[in-house]
């Protein structure tokens, strides 16, 4: 067997290793219930903002909290130790990475999806004006 063949075999072994580690590193999308079953374990939860519940950002303490509803419909208070994301009120969907505690879900990272202006304009032109 040639040395290059050995190198290729090592390469394939490494590739399989990379797949295993990636699957290990990958988190799963879950609801708040699953996150609460394993407090302290990090999860990614997708939900949306509960606009009926109060939302509070204390700039001095730099603490932001709000209530989110996940895809299964469960409400959960969320703490975010970062400034309130711009245009948070308008978000359609929030992706929260973090872990559950007994009182709240503590998010370390938040991504949001906002409706584009295009849709709003469209509605304005199409439905309301006429």
């Amino acid at each position: 067997m040639k040395r290059t063949h050995i190198a290729i075999i090592v390469f394939i072994a490494l590739a399989i290793g990379a797949i295993m580690v990636t699957i290990n590193d990958a988190s799963t999308y879950v609801g708040f219930n699953r996150a609460s079953e394993n407090p302290g374990t990090k999860y990614t939860v997708i939900g949306y903002l509960d606009k009926d519940a109060p939302m509070d950002y204390d700039a001095r303490a730099n603490r932001f909290n709000f209530t989110a509803i996940d895809k299964e419909g469960n409400k959960q208070k969320v703490f975010y130790n970062q400034p309130k994301p711009q245009d948070f009120e308008r978000s359609e969907e929030i992706t929260m990475k973090g872990f559950a505690t007994d009182s709240a879900f503590v998010a370390s990272e938040i991504l949001m999806k906002c409706p584009s202006k295009y849709n709003e304009q469209n509605e304005m032109a199409g439905y309301d004006t006429y």
Partner: protein, 807 residues
């Protein structure tokens, strides 16, 4: 029906050009094929003519779209979505390629130009290589066709009128002849995404797309070689193109990093975002392909690997296009394109070329000449081959992790074959995940790059190797020790070795070029490119591993949480940020931007500031307030800052009430607001009916509520909501002693609850403030210097290869 004010001619012209470009490319491929089969020169003439008309049609598409954008013809959907009247002329380019259709056209444009060059330079390779080019162009043109035969959708046209888009089809306004003059929303476009209004966005996409397009050339040569069963001679003409691709695609990717660093607020130049990854991976593979071709040129081995990687690079470009444009990335990327419903077509495109190219490779694999000889362990070719393998693993790891959403679509719980129980999410800490693989890979690559120049093809003389390497190793040890001391690397083993390896690779290539090669041009291509790459590694390592968030506060919310990385600065007060004392001076409004002027002093009490930064928030209708960083550059470090929040964003009533909050209450409900209970007792309704028409003329709703403070004192409030005809009014209730104000905002139609808007009195002495983030990136300039060198080196290599080919 006649519509008023529309300009239909340019759109029809544009559509004509698209059809011509599609048809001519398709028939050109067929004509070239017939030429190969029949060797009839007439077919070749026809094929050439057709490809030239295709190229002309592509220029026509580009011209038409620019004309539409510059003329502000907002009846066209693309113009309305991507530009506006107030868009500065210099951003018309960014508007051109902001949408998917425009970026497809940009891609077509570069392919057309490269194709024409190839037509006249490829000689015996012309016909088979141009079949590949024409076929690719036919597929790409079909992406902007925008036709609907048999209920199928083929492509999305940039020349479609807004009233004809699927979203708007059949809406009432599309039946109004003078809709353009009647509705204000059609008189101006929605404008260009503010993040793209940046000079980097004018030059980054065309460079990147030229890079994408350039990978087609080695691919076309490789496929042509397999097709012609002429397995050896393609390497020579393909080699300069492979290095061209390395240089230009590398430049495009680095420009993207520079844009992210200058204009985005994620704090750095690279974030392992899926969109970034998907252009990096084909580049890594192309670097491997180019080096394998070099091995073949010099030692006639590694030919099948050269075929494989040359083909793979372009296939990965197609795969990346699928990833970023099909909407499959969805939640995992911030800046993938919106789904245009073209994923099926993209998948066919990807599948077609994957099957043809890899199919040919598998069928012809046995015929590809292979070297019988065992490579010597000390030979340059052996280690270059190993390096290419490492590049391939690195690329594989990145693309696999990036493809998690694709894996979900295939085998996730809602996928085609539900094997997984849970939907997989991308790694929680993406940067850590990728770095844990890529740092060791980069370390090996950089090490091989340092050693490689001193290895000989065939067999290396050990004595000479050590003699030539000794100085670089010794100097590298000293420099590494200095850097490690300066930036405190001693406790981090992996980073420390990476530091040494990068310094060594810079020095050994410098030595090779200046001492062994006497600074001659023929030695410079690889040396300069390698020095550049090693400097990029060095710059990324130091600036990332030793970045210092100087706005970090020491207050922890809980043990598990990262410390807050944002500092609060009150106007005119000074706050310590790392070694500096920062003062938030003022906010200045410039057009639709809020500029926050922050001065940095070396010592408190200094009269003159050391420097001043003006990060701003762009107040865009489209995206809300968008932070834009400002960075102070020193030769040895950058101070990068952006505003994450400011008191100027808080709504207030103009007479000192702010902290707006909405409270929804049903009858008998209680809510808590600023240490007060609000108890909703009842709702009083009074309406005035017109006796004659029986219609309601006036409606007054009064919320009867109580506010109870911590001492148990009760205050009655009666905020009202009044509707007179169409006119809406509110009577607010203000409790001056408690500093609270309430408004009956509306009634929630679904729950019939009352929505109260509450404000509280702002502290008189409260100063305006900002919350900002500041990061020091040490030695980040090494990264930029390295980037420039790597690109220059690659182009010297192109030139050298081109010259030796001609000689």
């Amino acid at each position: 029906m006649e519509y008023i004010g529309e300009h239909l001619l340019p759109g029809q012209l544009g559509r004509f050009f698209v059809s011509l470009s599609f048809g001519a490319a398709l028939i050109s491929a067929i004509a070239y094929f017939l030429y190969i089969k029949s060797q009839n020169e007439n077919y070749k003439k026809v094929a050439r003519g057709l490809f030239l008309s295709h190229a002309a049609a592509v220029m026509g598409i580009v011209g038409t779209l620019f004309y539409l954008l510059l003329s502000h013809y907002f009846e066209y959907d693309y113009v309305w979505k991507h530009s506006s009247l107030d868009l500065e002329k210099r951003y018309v380019f960014s508007a051109f390629w902001e949408g998917q259709e425009g970026s497809f056209i940009l891609w077509l444009f570069w392919h057309a130009i490269l194709g024409v060059i190839l037509q006249f330079t490829a000689k015996k390779w012309e016909a088979p290589a141009m079949i590949v080019f024409s076929a690719v162009q036919a597929f790409l043109s079909s992406m902007v066709l925008g036709v609907f035969p048999f209920g199928l959708r083929i492509g999305s046209s940039p020349f479609v009128l807004m009233r004809n888009t699927a979203d708007n089809f059949g809406l009432p306004w599309t039946k109004v002849p003078d809709y353009l003059e009647r509705f204000p929303s059609f008189m101006d476009g929605t404008g260009l995404n503010p993040l793209l209004q940046n000079y980097w966005m004018t030059i980054h996409p065309p460079t990147l797309f030229l890079g994408f397009a350039s990978t087609l050339v080695p691919f076309a040569f490789a496929v042509a070689a397999l097709f012609n069963r002429d397995y050896k001679s393609w390497v020579k003409p393909a080699l300069p193109w492979a290095f061209f691709s390395v240089g230009i695609l590398g430049l495009g990717i680095l420009m993207g990093g520079a844009w992210a660093y200058e204009a985005l607020s994620f704090g750095g130049f690279w974030a392992w975002d899926p969109v970034e990854n998907s252009s990096l991976v084909p580049w890594i593979v192309m670097v491997g392909a180019a080096h394998l071709m070099l091995i073949y040129r010099n030692k006639k081995t590694a030919l099948s690997a050269a075929f494989f990687l040359s083909i793979l690079s372009f296939i990965l470009i197609l795969y990346s296009t699928f990833l970023t444009r099909s909407g499959v990335l969805g939640d995992s990327s911030v800046h993938a394109f919106v789904d245009l419903g073209l994923s099926g077509q993209l998948l066919i495109y990807l599948g077609f070329f994957t099957l043809i190219a890899f199919g040919l490779l598998i069928f012809r694999y046995k015929e590809i000449p292979k070297s019988k000889k065992e490579d010597d362990l000390t030979s340059r070719e052996f280690w270059m081959f190993i390096a290419s393998l490492v590049l391939l693993i690195a690329a594989f790891q990145i693309i696999f992790s990036t493809s998690i959403p694709v894996i979900n679509t295939l085998i996730g719980p809602e996928g085609l074959m539900p094997i997984l129980g849970d939907t997989m999410a991308p790694p929680l800490d993406a940067i850590e995940h990728y770095n844990s693989f890529q740092v060791p890979f980069a370390l090996v690559i950089t090490l091989l790059m340092g050693i490689g120049q001193f290895l000989a093809y065939g067999k290396t003389n050990a004595k000479r190797f050590w003699k030539n390497s000794f100085i670089s190793i010794a100097v590298a040890l000293v420099v590494t020790a200095l850097l490690a001391q300066l930036y405190d690397f001693w406790s981090q083993g992996l980073y420390l070795s990476f530091l040494f390896v990068s310094v060594y690779a810079v020095l050994s290539n410098l030595y090779y070029w200046l001492i062994l090669g006497k600074g001659k041009l023929s030695f410079s291509g690889s040396s300069v490119a390698h020095i550049g790459f090693a400097l990029i590694m060095l710059g990324s390592l130091i600036s990332n591993a030793k970045k210092d968030v100087i706005s970090q506060s020491e207050v922890f919310l809980s043990e598990d949480l990262p410390a807050n990385e944002n500092a609060l600065l009150e106007q005119t007060d000074s706050a310590a940020l790392g070694q500096y004392f920062a003062v938030f001076e003022d906010m200045e409004v410039v057009k639709n931007e809020q500029h926050y002027v922050v001065s940095y002093f070396n010592k408190p009490g200094d009269k003159n500031y050391a420097f001043q930064l003006r990060p701003f928030l762009l107040m865009s209708d489209q995206m809300g307030p968008t932070p834009n960083p400002d960075t102070e550059h020193f030769w040895h470090k950058d101070i990068y800052t952006h505003v994450t929040y400011s008191s100027f964003l808080e709504p207030n009533t103009g007479d000192g009430f702010g902290k707006e909050a909405l409270v929804e209450l049903g009858e008998g409900d209680t809510a808590l607001y600023r240490e007060h209970f609000i108890v909703m007792d009842s709702l009083k309704v009074s309406a005035g009916i017109n006796d004659e028409t029986g219609e309601m003329e006036r409606l007054t709703l009064t919320a009867v509520a109580r506010v109870i403070n911590v001492l148990g004192q009760e205050f009655k409030i009666r905020p009202t909501y009044e509707l007179e005809g169409e006119v809406l009014g509110h009577t607010d209730e203000t409790l001056y002693d408690a500093g609270l104000r309430f408004r009956f905002e509306e009634v929630n139609m679904e729950t019939n609850d009352i929505v109260l808007k509450a404000w509280s009195k702002l502290d008189e002495g409260q100063k305006p403030f900002i919350v900002m983030k500041a990061i020091v990136f040490p030695l980040i300039n090494l990264l930029w210097i390295g980037s420039i060198l790597m690109v220059i080196g690659s182009f010297i290599a192109v030139f050298q290869r081109y010259r030796t080919n001609r000689a």
